[in-house]
């Protein structure tokens, strides 16, 4: 198998070239393996080893081709911009990539996608800061805070924020909306006892919340500082 950027996986059939050995096996072909023609498994491994070693470093990149940069489809009713949407699965269309039209009920070509998402909630609760572009590098372990939560940065300000994501192809927006509603009820406590909610928005095929990043001083450090 070979991985390509953008979540593409290339896969061969299962090759086998082991020989028949009485009491053990009748050979690879008998067991249904694809026989390698003009090469052996070890030669294939030798080739893959060369291929992988020669390949340049490949940093994960989004569709826009900039390492770690993602765009929020922020829209404002005042400016007449179209409502933000959840990105739907793509499929080839005569050599070009075109979005799949969403069928009623969320079914398209045997694929089950939750919800239609012709419109998705796109709200900003923090004035004066642009949340349009984010630097999001989930492959860096230091940025991973849990299953759904990462540290990201606003661009170009480079301010740390917390990004919480739900896979919109699998989950409805209920959880995101429920969590946002809790934050809104706690609004008087934002920045004092709870982090502030900054943005509720779709992000590519995710439901996203952007939450204030708060640096927490570990208790043990505080203790030593007091001493």
């Amino acid at each position: 198998m070979q991985r390509y950027n953008g979540g593409i996986l290339r896969m061969t059939p299962m090759y086998g070239d082991f020989f028949a050995l009485p009491g053990i096996t009748h050979g690879a072909e008998t067991e249904g393996y694809h026989l390698p023609i003009n090469f052996s498994i070890m030669k294939a491994l030798y080739y893959i080893s060369y291929l992988a070693d020669a390949a340049p470093k490949a940093v994960e990149t989004p569709l826009h081709g900039v390492a770690g940069q993602v765009e929020l489809p922020m829209s404002s009713p005042q400016t007449g911009q179209p409502a933000a949407q959840i990105v739907q699965p793509y499929q080839h269309n005569q050599g070009h990539m075109a979005p799949v039209a969403q069928a009623p009920g969320g079914y398209q070509a045997g694929v089950h996608i939750v919800g239609g998402y012709e419109k998705a909630v796109s709200l900003q609760y923090h004035e004066g800061v642009t949340y349009k572009s984010l630097k999001f590098e989930p492959w860096l372990k230091a940025n991973c805070l849990g299953v759904k939560t990462w540290i990201a940065r606003t661009l170009p300000d480079n301010e740390k924020i917390i990004l919480k994501l739900w896979d919109a192809w699998k989950c409805s927006s209920d959880d995101q909306e429920h969590e946002a509603s809790i934050y809104l009820k706690l609004r008087p406590l934002w920045g004092k006892y709870v982090p502030a909610l900054r943005v509720q928005s779709p992000l590519e095929f995710y439901h996203a919340l952007i939450i204030q990043y708060i640096e927490v001083i570990p208790a043990v450090s505080f203790y030593f500082w007091m001493c």
Partner: protein, 257 residues
């Protein structure tokens, strides 16, 4: 102090060493049906058939210089000893770990003699990655989360693996009685012949449903296969967790029953 560094008397050429078939692995009468399930789960956006692979290997090997092909890189005695360990029938493998242990002294060793000059074997003209057999707990400095079965790393002409070298390939072993060629063909047939990509993210939902239905109907074999396929996808998730962001390939090393 005199350092004695004896070079083995190699008598097998690179071409011959890599041309031989793999020795088969015996299988115990009652083999485990257990699968290793990783916590690192990741779905892929698109699955494609690598249908040019055979041609690529053949073309590559035709371009390998004659001097590389004829260079002596290994000994017949060592080869027979390593192959004997694979086919040893006294304690046949009963689970995934056993299968991996059988291949550990063979595939990585042969590869490293041929590809990266282990034990002062002559290096090839081009560069290759070093293959290492990973034991859980044995490599505490691995820069991936989880423990792959094999790792290839870019060691830059050093024939020995170091955990901090950039990884280029992760290798996963699966029990041959659980993941069969027919099962993989079944997956490949799901790719639309017109080139429409299979959306694995969504297909997982369908597979899970099928898995459940098969289990309800008592079709444990197919049910088990689907479970195994999930496991394979899970292991692919290791890639995203590479700290160094290196480019990666993976080979699913297949073995006989």
């Amino acid at each position: 102090m005199q350092v004695f560094n004896q070079v083995p008397a190699f008598d097998i050429s690179r071409e011959m060493l890599l041309s031989w078939c793999l020795p088969p692995i015996p299988q115990a009468p009652r083999s485990s049906n257990a699968n290793h399930a990783s916590a690192y789960r990741l779905a892929w956006g698109e699955l494609r058939l690598w249908d040019t692979f055979a041609a690529e290997v053949t073309d590559y090997w035709q371009r390998v210089p004659e001097v590389d092909k004829t260079a002596l890189v290994y000994t017949q005695a060592s080869y027979h000893m390593a192959a004997q360990q694979v086919v040893w029938t006294a304690h046949p493998p009963t689970n995934e770990g056993d299968v991996k242990e059988r291949q550990g002294p063979f595939v990585p060793v042969i590869h490293n003699y041929a590809a990266v000059g282990r034990d002062h074997a002559p290096m090839p003209s081009d560069t290759h990655s070093t293959m290492a057999h990973i034991n859980p707990g044995g490599h505490t400095n691995l820069t991936v989360d989880g423990t792959p079965d094999f790792v290839f790393s870019r060691t830059q002409n050093n024939p020995y693996f170091a955990a901090w070298d950039p990884y280029t390939i992760l290798g996963e072993v699966k029990c041959p009685w659980l993941v069969t060629p027919a099962h993989i063909d079944q997956v490949l047939r799901t790719i639309d012949p017109l080139g429409f990509p299979l959306n694995l993210m969504s297909s997982l939902i369908m597979l899970q449903l099928l898995h459940f239905l098969m289990a309800m109907q008592g079709d444990w074999q197919l049910s088990k296969f689907l479970d195994t396929w999930f496991g394979m996808l899970v292991h692919m998730g290791l890639f995203r967790l590479l700290k160094d962001g290196v480019s990666c390939s993976v080979i699913m090393v297949e073995f006989s029953e």
